[in-house]
Symmetry: C2
Subunit: 483 residues, 2 copies
């Protein structure tokens, strides 16, 4: 045997001991990524990238189904372009990477490696948008972006990351607002259905909104350590960029008008959310919809029935490998126990064990990653049982995450209670907020909790006195410590 059966799990720090270390152990051990010799950057390994490919495929389908088309804009943005929108440059200037030399020469104008593409895209849209006939302009881009980060963390915060950014142009404010909310809805549906992660949809405060936006909407998820993670954002950019980049169109009434814009994005951060919402002390638990491997067949080889077992395992792999993402682990030199641990670490939703006894009984032992539950499934039943089990796992993971979120969403009636909840229980804390930035800031200073969002959904409790100042009144908002 190459390795000890327990090696995989032993090397992973339990979540209760150190959640942060558990996260780092798992991303490495499951071969999602590896540290690269560039500060703050990572290599996404095939197993991690396969999750991203599934995310891309499923989200891209939804983006196209809502009428958007993909395009590609340059990586480099001349510094003067980024500086056009005042809030935008203020937000991003501190974290940009600058190209100052090219082709052996000092550049006349420094180039920013895109931290986001509003500036470069708006400069093109100013050419493409002339008439109301050109609207709405609905474009999306899948690409890499760079934001120079001091404290990095695989998938959650890296200097370079992968994402999609949608950029649309509309004739009216109403259309832009409808688009912003539509894409927030697309994100919510996608994250809940495919990633099995329940999210709260809401609006960001002025302080937390995107640099240059009129309004930012967000979906917020709760990680299993009780911290929140912003999983996707959708911005109504108003006419801020249209005015500085001069995106004007001749309307039906023949008047020249500034256009209304939106932008919206999700990133490889979603992989971090998948890990932290569903993972356990044995490793990842991948929702079947985005799992790189949905089913693994592990033949249990003994001397006496080796050939028969292997032959049946291969037969099953061929039979179901077309419809499912399936792997047959027939590697020599690794014990079944070692293989079980490895595939559990990688979070494969369903393991099919096939040994001499299973063969004699004409079936396989199916083991669920989410519950550990074992069931014997006859060969004849596999056809319908496999997809059904995967569906049950997908729903089971969502329900478990939803129950966790509900158990970890608290109501705070006083600031003392609020502070205790944030310090001791974490999770989401719902409390009334007057709407003043000074209260928001004070709460953050004293508790490290930020307003995650002003929920779109009407909550019980109506208006009440602000948890911080007690003077102003406002609706309940979601607070949490966040990634």
């Amino acid at each position: 045997m190459v390795n000890n059966d327990k090696e995989f799990v032993k090397e992973v720090t339990p979540r209760a001991v150190d959640f942060s270390q558990w996260y780092l152990d798992v991303v490495l051990k499951a071969e999602l990524m590896d540290y690269a010799p560039v500060k703050g950057c990572m290599a996404i390994r095939p197993y991690g990238y396969a999750i991203w490919e599934n995310i891309q495929r499923l989200l891209d389908g939804r983006i196209k189904a809502t009428g958007h088309k993909n395009a590609y804009f340059p990586l480099f943005i001349p510094q003067s372009l980024l500086q056009k929108e005042a809030e935008h440059v203020e937000g991003f200037a501190p974290e940009v990477a600058l190209v100052t030399r090219g082709g052996g020469e000092e550049l006349a104008e420094k180039l920013v490696v895109r931290p986001t593409s509003e500036a470069i895209i708006c400069s093109m849209y100013a050419k493409w948008v002339q008439s109301w006939r050109d609207l709405p302009l609905l474009i999306n881009q899948w690409c890499n972006v760079v934001r120079w980060e001091k404290n990095t963390r695989p998938f959650l915060r890296t200097s370079e990351f992968l994402w999609q950014e949608g950029h649309t142009v509309h004739a009216t404010e109403e259309e832009a607002e409808a688009e912003t909310l539509q894409m927030l809805g697309v994100y919510k549906d996608f994250v809940e259905k495919e990633l099995a992660i329940p999210v709260v949809a809401g609006r960001k405060t002025e302080k937390e909104k995107f640099a240059g936006a009129l309004r930012t909407y967000t979906i917020e998820a709760l990680m299993s350590d009780g911290r929140a993670l912003q999983a996707g954002t959708s911005h109504n950019l108003g006419q801020h960029f249209a005015r500085v980049f001069d995106i004007q169109f001749q309307d039906k009434d023949d008047e020249l008008k500034y256009a209304w814009q939106t932008s919206w994005g999700v990133s490889t951060r979603l992989i971090g959310a998948l890990i932290m919402v569903h993972g356990d002390d044995r490793g990842l638990r991948m929702p079947p919809q985005v799992a790189p491997v949905q089913v693994v067949i592990v033949p249990i080889i003994t001397k006496k029935m080796k050939d028969e077992v292997l032959a049946k395992a291969k037969e099953l792999a061929e039979r179901f490998g077309g419809a499912l993402r399936l792997e047959l682990d027939d590697r020599d030199g690794y014990s079944p126990g070692w293989k079980f641990n490895e595939w559990e670490m990688k979070g494969v939703p369903l393991r099919l064990e096939l040994g001499p006894r299973d063969l004699e009984h004409g079936g396989v032992t199916a083991v669920r990653r989410d519950t550990g539950e074992k069931t014997f499934v006859t060969e004849a039943e596999l056809e319908w049982r496999l997809p059904m089990l995967l569906q049950e796992i997908q729903q089971g993971l969502f329900q478990q995450a939803l129950q966790f979120r509900e158990a970890n969403t608290h109501q705070a009636g006083s600031f003392a209670q609020f502070r205790d909840l944030i310090a001791e229980k974490r999770g989401f804390v719902l409390a009334h907020w007057c709407g003043e930035a000074v209260c928001e800031e004070k709460i953050k200073e004293e508790t490290k909790a930020t307003i995650r969002c002003l929920p779109l959904e009407e909550l019980n409790g109506g208006e009440g006195p602000c948890i911080c100042c007690r003077e102003g009144r406002g609706k309940k908002v979601y607070f949490a410590r966040a990634y």
Copy 2:
């Protein structure tokens, strides 16, 4: 009417007048790209990007079917890493873009924006490859790369471009060579079947090989102006990178050995090839396999049957829109003639015209973009005629390109003849070459023709005296002036 019927074609320079201008006119007019406010970079517009998405989907399937998995490596390469392999740095150093500032500070080590990823990937492989069990390591990456170019040309030569780069590691030289040739074969099959472009497969000379490779193989296509275009390359890297990046593995015999590597890539350049091989004076002609729109329905609206014609057009669009990439052009304010011109410019393989007369006869008029041929197709026949027509167009474009290449492949027996052929007829010229770099260089200086490849296929003519020195002897090789 918004525009004059002929506007589209009028604005495009005929190929015979100025091929180079025709190319620029077409890429803009068909909305494949637009110039961006960054030197040497372009924005790929949705119609152009959709071609790239089809290329990605079809090629990615082939790359995965041959056992490769996708991953993602950092955009930035520390300068010291790029400098490790001597030939490699010599080849790429002059054309790199350098990041010297990040997060508001001068960087301790400058970062190269990847011109290709051997250096960064090899630094990771050195960690991942330990034992023969880890081999072969078969990874591919879809990404953007940057090579600082002085003279740029949309899709053909831009400072930033999109590509895929495969990077594999093997235990033996034989396996690496087999992989190199396998991927060349994958490229040839892909380019011929999906892009309908015939290519010659062969080996590059020492002078033309990839900086750092042992051997470079290439597929070469002939553009309709008689110049050649390198459409894809596959490199056997030998142990060059393994030795400098220390990629060693414990072999089955327990010995520590340096690994053998390959890399291979194709880029958005293929879109340039599609344009220049198939395009005509009316615009693009897209092979159906990669056409963003395979079929366009243009209803011919007259006063008397407007509703009926539109209803039938919508019905057909819904019926066939699932299986085919189909658009219904029911825009108001544009004449049918203007629409015909626009879709011809965009190279849509098949146009279905539906007017009152077609409706009365229970069908549509199908117009092929490749031949201009019109056929009346009854509604009942559409189901099988549409895919059949698309298949015929795909094959027709390939055959036409093949005939062009055959008609423009010449044999040269003397240097005078060679020089005349290159100057007057262009195309591929086959001539004997002794294998000496000095002759290769002299031919290039005097005729601007380069050796495109030493063909893999055995050619008639065996060995003969070198076209240049007449002293040395060698086999026939492909010469051409190239992009």
